[in-house]
C-alpha cells in the first residue's frame, strides 16, 4: 500500500513537470513573437491567405472584364456607321490609354527591389529600409520616365498622373493601396535605354545598393504586361476648360452639344 502511494506521488509529479515545461515553452514562444522570431508555419499560413485573396481578386477581375466586353459589344452594335462616332471611339481609346485605364503590353525592364538581408554584423532594426526611404522608389520611377518609359507599374499598381507613393504609418501606399517589399517595378519602353539609365555609375541603382544595402536586380524582357489602374477615378474639383486643344476640338464640340442637349432635356423635365 505504502509503495503504491509512492508511485502515485511520482506520477503526479511527472505530470506536473510535464505541464510546467510545456507552459514554459509556450510562453517563451509567445515572447519570441514580439522579439522578432516566428515559426515558419505562421508565415506559411499567411502565404496561403495571400494566395486566396489573389485568386478571389482574379476571379472578380475576370468578371469585370467579361462585363466590359458585353458593354463594348452592345456599344458596337448600336453605333456602327457614323464616321464621327467611329472617330470618337478611336479618340476614346487613345484617351483611355493615356489615362492608364487599359491593360498594356510591350518590351521593357523588370526591376526588383528588396530589403537588405540581415547579417550578424548588421541585423537591421526591424524596419524596412525601402519603405522608410520610399523616395528612392519615387526617384527610380522618375529616372525610368526620363528614359522614356511609356507605362510603369509597382507591385501591380499602375503609375498614372495621380499616383502617389506615400509612407503612411507602417506601410507605403501606392494609389492608396498598401504595399510591402519586395517591390517589383515593370516598365514598358526602350529596355536598353532604361537599363543604361539606371545602371550608370553613381546612379540610382548603385546608390541603392551601396548606400542602403538594398538588393536590386534589373532584367530586360521581351513582353511585359502592365495592368490597368484599378481604382475609381473621380474629379470633383477639376473641370475641362474651353477652348479645348486643337486635335480633339471636333470631338469635344460634339460632346459639348451633346451635353447641352442633355441639359435642355433635364430643364424640360
Amino acid at each position: 500500500m505504502h509503495k503504491k502511494g509512492g508511485i502515485l506521488v511520482i506520477l503526479a509529479l511527472a505530470i506536473l513537470i510535464g505541464l510546467i515545461l510545456s507552459i514554459q515553452m509556450n510562453t517563451s514562444d509567445a515572447y519570441e513573437q514580439h522579439g522578432g522570431l516566428i515559426t515558419i508555419a505562421q508565415a506559411n499560413d499567411l502565404e496561403r491567405q495571400l494566395k486566396e485573396v489573389r485568386n478571389e481578386k482574379e476571379s472578380i477581375m475576370a468578371e469585370y472584364l467579361e462585363l466590359e466586353q458585353r458593354l463594348k459589344a452592345i456599344e458596337e452594335q448600336s453605333l456602327s456607321e457614323d464616321a464621327l462616332l467611329q472617330a470618337a471611339m478611336k479618340d476614346l481609346e487613345r484617351y483611355r490609354m493615356g489615362s492608364g485605364v487599359l491593360d498594356v503590353q510591350g518590351p521593357g525592364v523588370v526591376i526588383t527591389v528588396d530589403d537588405p538581408i540581415p547579417t550578424e554584423e548588421n541585423p537591421g532594426d526591424g524596419y524596412s529600409t525601402i519603405m522608410i526611404r520610399s523616395d528612392l522608389l519615387l526617384s527610380l520611377i522618375n529616372k525610368l520616365k526620363d528614359a522614356g518609359a511609356e507605362a510603369i507599374s509597382i507591385n501591380g499598381q499602375r503609375i498614372i498622373a495621380r499616383t502617389e507613393i506615400s509612407l503612411a504609418g507602417d506601410n507605403v501606399n501606392i494609389n492608396t493601396v498598401p504595399t510591402a517589399p519586395p517591390y517589383t517595378i515593370k516598365a514598358i519602353g526602350n529596355s536598353d535605354t532604361m537599363e543604361g539609365t539606371l545602371n550608370i555609375r553613381y546612379g540610382i541603382v548603385e546608390v541603392m545598393r551601396n548606400n542602403y544595402g538594398l538588393q536590386v536586380s534589373i532584367a530586360k524582357q521581351e513582353d511585359i504586361e502592365i495592368p490597368r489602374y484599378s481604382g475609381v477615378l473621380r474629379y470633383l474639383y477639376a473641370k475641362p476648360f474651353e477652348p479645348a486643344s486643337e486635335d480633339s476640338a471636333e470631338a469635344d464640340a460634339t460632346a459639348d452639344t451633346q451635353e447641352a442637349d442633355e441639359a435642355n432635356e433635364t430643364d424640360q423635365q
Binding site: 510535464g18 489615362s99 498598401p178 474639383y237
Partner: protein, 249 residues
Amino acid sequence: MKRKAILYFIICLFVGCSIVVLTKTVNGQHLFVSSKVLDDYRITIEGERKDMENIIKLTDESREELETLEALTAAHEDISREVEAKLFQDLHFYSLAGGYVDAIGPGVEVVIDDGTRDLEYGENPNDILVHDLDLLLIINELKDAGAELISVNGQRIVDTSSISCSGYTVRINGQFYARPFVIRAIGDGSRMSAALIGPGGYGTVLKDWGLIFRISILDDIIIPAYVEDRASKYMTLSTADKVKEGEKN
C-alpha cells in the same frame, strides 16, 4: 530493486511523453523567420483586399450600366442615343483624366525658388538650390493630399512626366525650365496646403533649409493640356483576354 527500475521507467516515459506533446503543440518546426516577413505578408494581403474592393466598385458600375442598357433593349427601345451619350461622356472624362484638354478648378499655387541667404563657412551651395527631388517630393505630397491635376511651370504632369536636373536647368516633360518653379494643383486647397506647411510637411523642410517656398490657395487655376508628343512606340493594348493580375512577389 525491480520495483525501483519500473518506477524510473515510468518517470522517464512521462518526461519523454510530455516533451513530445509540447513540441507538437508549438508547431515543432524550429525554423524561424523574422517578424518583418510576417508584417510584409500582412500589408500585401491588406493591399490586395483594398485592390479587390476597388475592382468590385468598378464591376458594380459596369453591371449597373449593362443592366440599364439590357432593360432598354428588352423593352425594344432604341438604345443608340443612350450609348452615344455615354460615349461622349466617357470621351469628356478621359480627355480630362489623360491630360488632353485644359482644365480649370480651385486649388493651390506653390512657388519654389533658390534660397537668398548667405552660405555659412564651408557650406555646400546645393543646400539652398532647388533640385529635381524637391519638386518630385512636393508633387508627391500634393497628390497624396488629393491633387487631381498638377502642372509645373505650365507643363501638365501626366503618367509619363519626368522631372530631372540637368545642370542649371530642370527638364520637365522634355522641355527645359529654370528657377523659380511654379507648381499649380487643382483639388482641395486647404488640405493640400495643410499637408505641405504642416509639421513635417516638405514645404516646411525646404523653408528650414533657407529656400523660398510660398503657397497660396486660389479659386480658378487653369492647368494646360499636355502638348508634347506622346505617341507610344513600344506599348500596345494587351491582346490577352485576361491579364494576370497581381505581381508575383
